[in-house]
Amino acid sequence: MSAKLMQGNEAVAEGALAAGVRFFGGYPITPSTEIAEGMAKLLPKVGGTFIQMEDEIASMGVVLGASLAGKKVLTASSGPGISLKQELIGYAAAAEIPVVIVNVQRVGPSTGQPTAPSQGDVMQARWGTHGDHSIIALSPWSVRESFELTIKAINYAEKFRTPVILLMDEIVGHLRENVELPAENEIEIYPRRTPKKSRAEGYEPYTPDEDLVPNVANFGEGYHVHVTGLIHDETGFPSGSPKITAEFIKRMHEKISRAADEIIEVETDFMDDAEIAVVSFGGTARTAYEAVRNSRAKGLKVGFVRLVTIWPFADKIIAELAKKVKGLIVAELNYGQIVGEVQRAANGNCAVKLCAKYDMTIFEPEEIESAIDELISEVGGK
């Protein structure tokens, strides 16, 4: 397949289709609308369903219903819409319903700056809905990766029966660039999990499998499953038991944390002799990469670290890095969010410096290069 120009948001729609998504519910909002528009056009061509709902809460509800009926599902939004979706993101976590939510981040809080880029929803992605829960969040830096991570997000949602957030930003969502999409036979698809027992054999929908994830039957397949947002036991019915509640919350976390090494992806470059490194993610990483390259050209021993997986956080990788380098710069398009995680993981083993921006514009390489120069002068080294 030859290269063509494609937009990040369009690549998400194409990726969703390739991943087997056959149901999308959404509500228009800048800067994510192109995803809904893409799905509205593409889905009916493959026998899939697109519906524009009355609000973002309904958009979440409708995709969760469709997921329970057996479809792979996607919804997409930004800022205020993502805030509205939080209620049912929690429902999806509790009832273990596979769903991918795309957040094309814009400047907030509230209506904020609707058309301007931001990476201010990092912590919302982790803790936006109430209560203890696990989450997976992935952040692409290119159009091709928007396609690939959409597929990965759908696969994780299915495999772990969890909400997965594709944490885009306006930079990548609206960027058009060359893209060569992988061929169909290069794409791996994780199929919907299916019951391993019949009702007669004592099937219980929420009995966890060896990987701590239950094989909940789809609606309409004769299993008479009960699904609820109340904390429930293995039968799926509500339980008031402290023991079951504790086990449930523990399993919610551990089904993801035990697979962390599989889920966590970090890309590095120029790290062999690096004395300091720049940590970034999403669209900002494009500028960080250019800044690191420019600094290298000046003879500075700077490395590049890109978080592909935002949640669960790359604790181990950052902890090891912190022992190797003298300092880490965290470049993010917000007042400082992921920097706290980096500090926690670095645990005092190296300096951690924030390079933050929140003025509606993206970083220029020079801004990150200045941070590199400053950190080098602070920690010594070249």
Binding site: P44, G61, G65, A66, Y91, V225
Partner: protein, 276 residues
């Protein structure tokens, strides 16, 4: 015991239910399964029960189908997703007056507007029962609630008129007292292709009746008997006789309009994916 054949529709191991003695929800729930039992082609395997949050919405847990106890107010969006994902399934929504007309009000009118092929049964007990008796958008004027200790001043919704105006294609009301009538209109609603809405008036002796000195459950049902007027008779009543607490029951509206899943099938035909 052939007259209790409907019991197979209940999850015996989930009973007894959590409703108070004298509550009308059980009557409405039984009317639903008796209506389903009469429908050839409606089985426990191809019928999905979806509910919101509140006393009424606990019904789904007792009913032996695939059942979905959603979040507060959100039953209709979830049910919409199920129906559009698998149009061959029959989808019934059980909701309450607070669930459907307050927190879920927007979803309710848009479900009606789209004419999604769902049967929505609102158990109207005029109060938030599960949280102990707060006023709902269907608490009558002047009635007391914990959040309206001096009597409610919020003008209540007529959920049937709302449904009709919003585009539902079957709209009817009955009560827990008129159980045969209630069962019959649910049966008719199940037959309707499109958004069917039924308001089932149910008594809440604990949180509504007691506070408003209406009395025992039996008295509350006697009130339904004495104040409900069949639609035909209601239409003939002169306005000066439509007084006090009298209200109409029966079928208010029925229309044949393309359902959302039928309309979407045309979209798929145009786009070329109808056979995929």
């Amino acid at each position: 015991m052939t007259e209790r054949s409907y019991e197979k529709f209940f999850r015996q191991n989930r009973l007894p239910h959590l409703w108070c003695p004298g509550c009308g929800n059980g009557i409405a729930m039984k009317a639903i399964v008796q209506a389903i039992e009469k429908k050839s082609g409606w089985t426990q395997d191809n019928t999905i029960i979806v509910s919101g949050i509140g006393c009424s919405s606990r019904a789904s847990g007792y009913m032996d189908f695939d059942t979905l106890h959603t979040a507060h107010g959100r039953a209709i969006p979830f049910a919409t997703g199920i129906k559009l994902a698998k149009p061959e399934l029959n989808v019934v929504v059980i909701t309450g007056d607070g669930d459907c007309t307050a927190i879920g009000g927007n979803h309710f009118i848009h479900g009606c507007r789209r004419n999604i092929d769902l049967t929505v049964i609102l158990f109207n007990n005029n109060i938030y029962g599960m949280t102990g008796g707060q006023a709902s958008p269907m608490t009558p004027l002047g009635k007391k609630a914990t959040t309206a200790p001096y009597g409610s001043i919020d003008r209540p919704f007529d959920a049937c008129k709302l449904a009709e105006a919003a585009g539902a294609t079957y709209v009817a009301r009955s009560t827990a007292f008129h159980v045969q009538h209630l069962t019959k209109i649910i049966e008719d609603a199940l037959d309707n292709k499109g958004f069917s809405f039924i308001e089932a008036l149910v008594q809440c002796p604990t949180a509504y009746g007691r506070r408003n000195k209406i009395g025992e459950p039996a008295k509350m049902m006697a009130w339904m008997r004495d104040n409900a007027v069949m639609k035909n008779a209601w239409d003939k009543l002169p306005d000066e006789k439509k007084i006090g607490e009298k209200f109409p029951i029966g079928l208010f509206y029925k229309a044949e309009t393309e359902t959302y899943d039928e309309a979407y099938h045309h979209v798929m035909e145009i786009a070329g994916g109808a056979s995929k």
